[in-house]
């Protein structure tokens, strides 16, 4: 039914579109060329490691040709071979998967331990805070590389153990950051308002304060990924990572003696690490700006 109204009723102005804090942050992030470049790099690197094995199905450990074949010499080995005659491109693809997996896993471990300890310390304060922070300081004063080396030497140098070792040495920073955010937010009135309507402590911690504490934590998590990738590369280079799994660090470690004769063996995985960490840092910086309320007004 179509009705033609002649009586004009004043149409109320439509409500403006709801824009949540996250949508707003994305709006700012999107406008930063550096941040977007970082995001593109990360997506490309991830794509390479995920789709790579299907497009370029070569085993990274298989000896395919003569050792130290330079890139471009053989049409089917575009990036040449290493000192054992293994395909470099296949190594980059397989190694990227391990490197990224360790990076993300270590960052996840860091976040889980750090956020849980930081939340409780910051929310409850007093004795709980004291106890948890002394515990945190104990881990903070451990020399990270040494401790990680001990862990992987004591327990098998598997990828899981490497990720665990990195997570265990890097969570204290996250815990401190979480704690300070919780201390700030718990005094805000909307937290009191939640308590006034009978919200339990765990509801307040996980559903009210944590979401509001997330922005700096997300930034810190991003940077932790970059740090973990470098850490893993360091351990592999020292021969302390899983020798049965190809990673960029392992490629650099095993090819380092041939640097002068065969630049590609070390330079290509090095370049990948550089690009990935650069991408992570750019994204982290972009997120930092996007979550910074002072950037909103511009």
């Amino acid at each position: 039914m179509v009705a033609i109204t002649t009586v004009s009723t004043p149409t109320p102005t439509p409500a403006p579109a709801a824009r949540g804090p996250m949508a707003e942050a994305w709006g700012i992030f999107r406008r930063s060329p550096a941040a977007m470049l970082g995001l593109v790099i990360l997506i490309l690197v991830t794509l390479m490691t995920v789709a790579g094995p299907f497009l370029y199905p070569v085993d990274a450990f298989e000896i395919v040709w003569a050792p130290l074949t330079p890139p471009g010499q053989e049409a089917n080995i575009p990036l040449g071979t290493d000192n054992l005659g293994r395909d470099t491109l296949a190594g980059l693809i397989a190694g990227g998967r391990a490197t990224l997996a360790v990076g993300f896993a270590a960052a996840a471990i860091t976040m889980v331990i750090g956020v849980v300890i930081g939340s409780y310390a910051g929310f409850y304060g007093g004795g709980v805070d004291n106890l948890l922070m002394r515990f945190t300081e104990f881990f903070q004063v451990l020399p990270p590389l040494l401790f990680a080396m001990v862990v992987v030497t004591l327990f098998q140098p598997t990828l899981v153990n490497v990720a665990l070792a990195i997570g265990v040495v890097s969570w204290p920073q996250t815990a401190r950051l979480t704690r300070s955010e919780f201390r700030r937010i718990r005094t805000l009135e909307y937290v009191s308002a939640m308590r006034a309507i009978g919200a339990s402590n765990s509801h307040v911690i996980w559903r009210v304060i944590l979401p509001n504490a997330l922005p700096p934590l997300i930034v810190s998590a991003t940077l932790t990924i970059g740090m973990a990738i470098l850490f893993e590369a360091g351990l592999s280079f020292l021969g302390l990572s899983d020798p049965n799994v190809m990673s960029w660090g392992l490629m650099i470690g095993s090819g380092r003696q041939y640097l002068l004769d065969a630049w590609w063996v070390v330079t290509l995985p090095g370049l990948m690490i550089f690009l990935t960490v650069l991408g992570v840092s750019l994204v982290g910086d972009g997120l930092n700006d996007a979550f910074n309320p002072r950037m909103r007004e511009r």
């Binding site: 949540g20 804090p21 805000l188 308002a193 939640m194 308590r195 309507i197 009978g198 919200a199 509001n212």
Partner: protein, 316 residues
């Protein structure tokens, strides 16, 4: 008259340093009859906000009783306290921090009903719209986030949240002090209209004498954790009996022609003493223009001066 809220000898002490404590609230008593408004005025450090938070059970009560229409609010805990919470709600001071920036308005107003399990879940969205209309906001704004509203609109949202549980008592902590004066008038009128329409009982904390004069039936003046004077609003302004109340009224900036270019009102000397090392006599004695030696040694009791007016001053 039967009081809806009855507070007796309320004390809130916060421990500081080695064995010391801040006597934020130190023996406060008052009653609010149903449907009436009690205003608490005082300067920073007077304990007025802590009193409000203690009544709300958001600050730890050291001693004393808070009774809401037969419910011993000060002594119940856990599930029992949670069950009682719908009956007393609070509107906070800061329109920018009192609403969770990550929740939409609809969810902010729904939360009390969800958490306290009030009414039928299916009806709650409808109730949110009703509440928005009740505080003068268009229901279609419910899907927006707090930062998309002005300060005055946010205080309306805070009020809608407090009304969501259909409370008997609403505690207001400086609800308009962060607002511009034109917006302040809108919110004050709304607060009064709601009381007229629903018979709510208010505890209203403010530092602004003009605001409490406009909103409150009865006024209590606090100084360093204690009530120094209490009387019906008209009387306290017409004939303040405590020297502190007198100074407060004299210092309030006003548009009255006789105040023009007087360079600020009557000047009370100095600052309040530290709430940790309280003087043993009258707490106001160090700033009081009429204090005598007796005041510095014996603390005055809050006592009736007239049938309706009480003051804690030896000389009143």
């Amino acid at each position: 008259m039967n009081a809806l809220l009855s507070v007796r000898d309320l004390k809130v002490h916060f421990p500081v340093g080695k064995g010391g404590s801040i006597h934020a609230v130190d023996g406060v008593s008052f009653d609010i009859p149903r449907g009436k408004t009690l205003g608490i005025v005082g300067e920073s450090g007077s304990g007025k906000t802590t009193t409000a938070l203690a009544v709300m059970r958001l600050a730890p009560i050291t001693a004393g009783k808070v009774d809401l229409d037969g419910t011993p609010v000060s002594s119940i805990e856990g599930e029992e306290l949670r069950k009682a919470r719908p009956r007393f709600q609070m509107v906070f001071q800061d329109p920018f921090s009192s609403l969770n920036p990550r929740d939409r308005v609809a969810s902010i107003i729904r939360q009390p009903m969800d958490l306290l399990n009030l009414g039928n879940p299916a009806d709650r969205d409808l109730r949110v719209e009703e509440l928005l209309q009740q505080v003068g906001l268009r229901p279609e704004l419910k899907s927006l986030y707090p930062h998309q509203f002005s300060g005055g609109q946010r205080q309306r949202i805070g009020l809608a949240r407090a009304l969501a549980t259909q409370p008997d008592l609403i505690v207001f902590d400086e609800p308009v002090s962060a607002l511009d004066v034109a917006v302040q008038a809108q919110v004050l009128n709304l607060i009064r209209r709601l009381q007229r329409e629903t018979g709510l009982t208010y505890l209203f904390i403010s530092h602004d004498l003009g605001v409490v004069r406009h909103i409150c039936d009865e006024i209590a003046v606090m100084y360093l954790g204690q009530v120094v004077e209490e009387a019906p609003a008209a009387e306290i302004f017409a004939s303040p009996r405590h020297p502190y109340t007198q100074a407060l009224i004299a210092a309030a900036p006003s548009l009255a022609p006789e105040h023009r270019r007087r360079g600020g009102g009557a000047k009370l000397q100095g600052d309040p003493p530290s709430p940790i090392n309280l003087p043993k006599g009258c707490r106001f004695a160090s700033r009081c223009p009429i204090a005598i030696d007796h005041c510095r040694h014996v603390p005055p009791e809050l006592r009736p001066i007239t049938e309706t007016q009480m003051a804690a001053c030896h000389l009143a």
